[in-house]
């Protein structure tokens, strides 16, 4: 049931590169990452590629398959016609290091800019009580495997290097939203999300949601509610007036 797959894989580094043609035998049930591994083992031993779990859990193997941002380990070859040539290229939004590996440090920088979780004191018995219903939204966001495919896809920074300093990207809007909705957090990051993280630059096109392998409703469940919360904070006349005097929700603005 196996067949010879024809592939084009981007080979190169920061300076230059090209799509190199390969033909590689593949077996039933295989995914794109299997084909890439077989290439590595038999034809291109120095082909650079990231992977860890091979089960869609670690978010390492992000790339673009026929131009579509995907996890290589979750992209089955049966999705393509056996006659079709599959083209694999690195994520476009990040500088390439070598072959399919790119420099994703932008994301780690954005993570550092985000003020941490700050809970209040626990209950007298040392435990913390939260209801399942209240943690479910946050749990949806914490399914994120940091594959950075959403970051790669977002048009605000794809092909717009100049926007990167002021834009944290959908993965981190998710994180702002998660913390904002956390029942125990005492920080108010709404202003920061809007200004420093660039939430305002997002025009809710939902492209990020479409590529998320964890099926997180990034736009509907995180970004839009977060935008509303920012608006609440800024234009609610009572809060506006009173924000210097008393805090409506007793959180500390960071």
């Amino acid at each position: 049931m196996g067949y010879d797959l024809s592939m084009r894989v981007w080979r190169g580094d920061v300076d230059s590169g090209e799509l190199a043609p390969y033909t590689v035998p593949v077996e039933e049930g295989e995914v794109v990452l299997d084909a890439v591994h077989r290439l590595q083992a038999t034809q291109a031993p120095d082909l650079a590629v990231r992977w860890n779990c091979k089960a869609g859990k670690c978010g390492s193997c992000s790339a673009e398959v026929n131009g579509r941002p995907r996890l290589m380990c979750m992209t089955r070859l049966t999705d393509y016609d056996p006659d079709e040539t599959i083209t694999v290229t690195p994520m476009r939004t990040f500088p390439v290091v070598k072959d399919l590996v790119c420099d994703v440090s932008y994301n780690y920088e954005k993570a550092r800019e985000l003020p941490a979780f700050a809970p209040g004191p626990p209950d007298p018995d040392g435990k913390r009580r939260m209801m399942q219903a209240d943690v479910e939204r946050g749990q949806e966001f914490r399914k994120c495997i940091e594959c950075f495919l959403c970051q790669n896809t977002c048009h605000v920074i794809r092909d717009h290097e100049e926007n990167k300093p002021a834009f944290a990207g959908p993965r981190f809007f998710l994180r702002y939203a998660e913390l904002d909705m956390h029942p125990l957090d005492t920080n108010d990051r709404r202003q920061l999300a809007q200004e420093a993280a660039g939430l305002g630059m997002c025009n809710i096109t939902k492209c990020c949601t479409e590529v998320c392998p964890e099926n997180i409703k990034i736009t509907d469940n995180a970004i839009i509610p977060m935008k509303e919360r920012v608006v609440d904070r800024r234009y609610d006349p009572l809060v506006w007036l009173g924000s210097k005097i008393f805090r409506r929700d007793e959180r500390t603005e960071v």
Binding site: D13, Q40, N52, K57, M74, F117, R129, Q139, R142, E146
Partner: protein
């Protein structure tokens, strides 16, 4: 010789899984200037793949649970070969460590009272695993990673350590390379915490990733730290078997914890035929009792599907051998006929996803095909229970790379909690030691640095020899281990394995890699292979010596446990490439703990 990039720290933690991150946080909190080094990107370590949960006797659902019960379960699961002090500390401190994660932002599933929910797992008397659906490891690593970032701890990612450097027997530093550029890097530090995880990649069918090449085991051994319990390798009973490309990928034990059962091709729930005497008293012997247990643990005993992993893996192996396997060489794991689709999707979302996407199987409608897969190594660097210190001054180890805690078999869920408890202890003690040293730190010798650099570049040097491809060599090593040092072992096969390993070692000297130093996986693998070969030899050597069956070590020629063997560990050391082995009596458990095993 060119000047290498150099850094100086009080504590260097090698590994950014649960153990490494927790160690780094502890070292940082103790005031040490701390660095974390890891082979992959931050957040991608193996811990991210853990599914089921972290075991901690919090008693949120079963108030009768306590550290004593957890301790007892752990020791019995390890067939009493565990370092009792580690098992004790682990059971005592796990609840606090799990609660601490909440402090740092973790969102565990809740009980109706709003407390952390706990789930059933094999070998645990009570529902004890704190979890988030079936992606607990992700929650844990993200929480620790976010904490470490918030504390501003330096992280060197995609950086691989190839040598621990010593000065007069004490840790002086570490040598490594950046994966991206291939350039070398030297760390000067008096304290190193090894937190590099396991060795599963030496087997063909494994749930482990490319990183599991036994680096820390080999680094420790070469620096002079003995390994213990290396004959004990855990084969998880339930790995995917089909399609071939996903063979070995884990199917979490939570499937059974949440009600799934094992069946053979005749539809028989065969685990009832495999209840060993050791666990008879606590295991249900009828389906009614087994099914009643999920809701009423007082009046029913545990289903045999939830026996410790070594028992279940062996049973599956026997069924397949007896010709009662599934079409693709496994057996059936069925939750579809036992729980509602809604329940399954809520409790096991990533299993649902994994089977749907990778195997076209809807686990809410049909059974899964599963079979044993190499999962975890019980053996590792021998450490002091309280401090995580190895025999080498300044060298600490925590997590899967350390040995002793789990004895001959680890219970599910006990690893994640182990990482937290002993990661913290190792980090603290590494920091204390560095603090006490003041000015008189061991020095990195230039000679060692030059030698380490030369060794790392060896695969590039073309001395006109036969070329060996590192990928082929790895495949051959995996085949040897799978065939001869697998679940069921014999003297003949183990002897043969050692012969084949010698040949492989010889071939490894002729590895020739292509391309440049920049992000070159062929080169990286060539360097990892040296470690894999060394740990493989340790596993086979110890397995040949131990003439009994216990936990993760089953000898067809010695099918029963023996009292004599039950009182000792096998300790491995290495000098000039030669592995040697000695017997060492277990530490005796104090009377008050022994009592826990007498009152049945």
């Amino acid at each position: 010789m060119a000047e290498f990039e150099r850094h100086s720290y009080d504590v260097v933690v090698i590994g950014a899984g649960g153990a490494g991150l927790r160690a780094a946080i502890a070292a940082h909190d103790a005031g040490a200037r701390t660095a974390i080094i890891c082979k992959s990107l931050l957040g991608k370590a193996h811990t991210v793949m853990a599914e089921g949960g972290a075991a901690a006797a919090m008693g949120n659902l079963w108030p009768d649970d306590s550290w004593r019960v957890h301790f007892r379960d752990t020791m019995r699961g390890g067939k009493m070969l565990n370092n009792w002090r580690m098992a004790q500390l682990h059971a005592q401190e796990a609840p606090e460590r799990v609660l601490e994660l909440e402090e740092w932002g973790a969102l565990f599933d809740r009980t109706p009272d709003g407390l952390i929910s706990q789930r059933d797992f094999g070998g645990h008397r009570y529902a004890r695993l704190a979890h988030v659906g079936d992606r607990t490891g992700l929650e844990m690593i993200r929480t620790l990673q976010q904490r470490a970032v918030a504390l501003g701890i330096d992280v060197f990612m995609e950086c691989t350590v190839t040598e621990v450097l010593t000065d007069d027997g004490a840790v002086a530093g570490a040598f490594g390379y950046w994966r991206e550029s291939g350039r070398f890097i030297v760390f000067e530090t008096p304290s190193i915490v090894l937190a590099t995880g396991g060795i599963g990649k030496v087997y063909e069918v494994t749930s482990n990733s490319w990183e599991y090449t036994g680096d820390g085991h080999a680094l420790g051994l070469r620096a002079g730290a003995p390994l213990i319990n290396m004959e004990f390798v855990q084969f998880h009973p339930t790995g995917m078997v089909w399609p071939p490309s996903v063979r070995g990928i884990l199917v979490t034990e939570s499937v059974r914890g949440d009600g799934g059962v094992l069946k053979n091709s005749e539809g028989e729930r065969f685990m009832f035929n495999y209840i060993p005497d050791f666990f008879k008293a606590e295991t249900a012997d009828t389906e009614e009792e087994a099914d009643g247990w999920y809701d009423d643990k007082k009046n029913n005993r545990r289903p045999p599907e939830l026996l410790p992993r070594d028992e279940v893996a062996r049973a599956i192996n026997s069924e397949i051998k007896a010709g009662r396997g599934s079409p693709h060489g496994g057996v059936f794991l069925d939750i579809a006929s036992r729980r509602s689709p809604e329940f399954i999707q809520r409790r096991l979302p990533s299993m649902y996803h994994q089977f749907k996407e990778l195997a076209d199987v809807d686990i809410t409608a049909e059974p899964m095909e599963i079979g044993p897969t190499c999962h975890y190594v019980m053996g590792g660097v021998e450490v002091d229970a309280d401090t995580g210190a190895s025999a080498v001054t300044g060298l600490y180890a925590a997590g899967e790379v350390s040995g002793g805690m789990h004895g001959s078999n680890r219970l599910g869920g006990n690893s994640l909690s182990d990482l937290l408890v002993f990661g913290r202890r190792a980090g603290l003690n590494a920091a204390y030691y560095a603090g006490r040293l003041s000015e008189s730190r061991p020095q990195v010798s230039e000679r060692d640095v030059t030698a380490a650099g030369k060794a790392a570049l060896a695969p590039f040097s073309d001395a006109g020899r036969v070329d060996e491809n590192p990928y082929t060599l790895q495949k051959d090593l995996q085949a040897t281990m799978q065939r001869l040092v697998g679940i069921i072992r014999t003297r003949e096969e183990l002897t043969q394995a050692l012969v084949e390993l010698e040949t492989l070692k010889e071939r490894a000297k002729h590895i020739q890699v292509e391309g440049h130093r920049q992000y070159n996986p062929g080169w990286h693998l060539a360097l990892d292979l040296a470690n894999m070969l060394l740990v493989a030899e340790c596993v086979a050597t110890a397995a040949l010596e131990r003439e009994e069956s216990r936990g993760g070590h089953t000898r067809d020629d010695f099918p029963l446990p023996s009292e004599d063997w039950g009182s000792k560990n096998l300790v491995l050391t290495e000098k000039d490439g030669v592995v040697s082995l000695k017997h060492q009596p277990l530490q005796t458990m104090p009377g008050e703990l022994q009592q826990l095993f007498e009152e049945e």
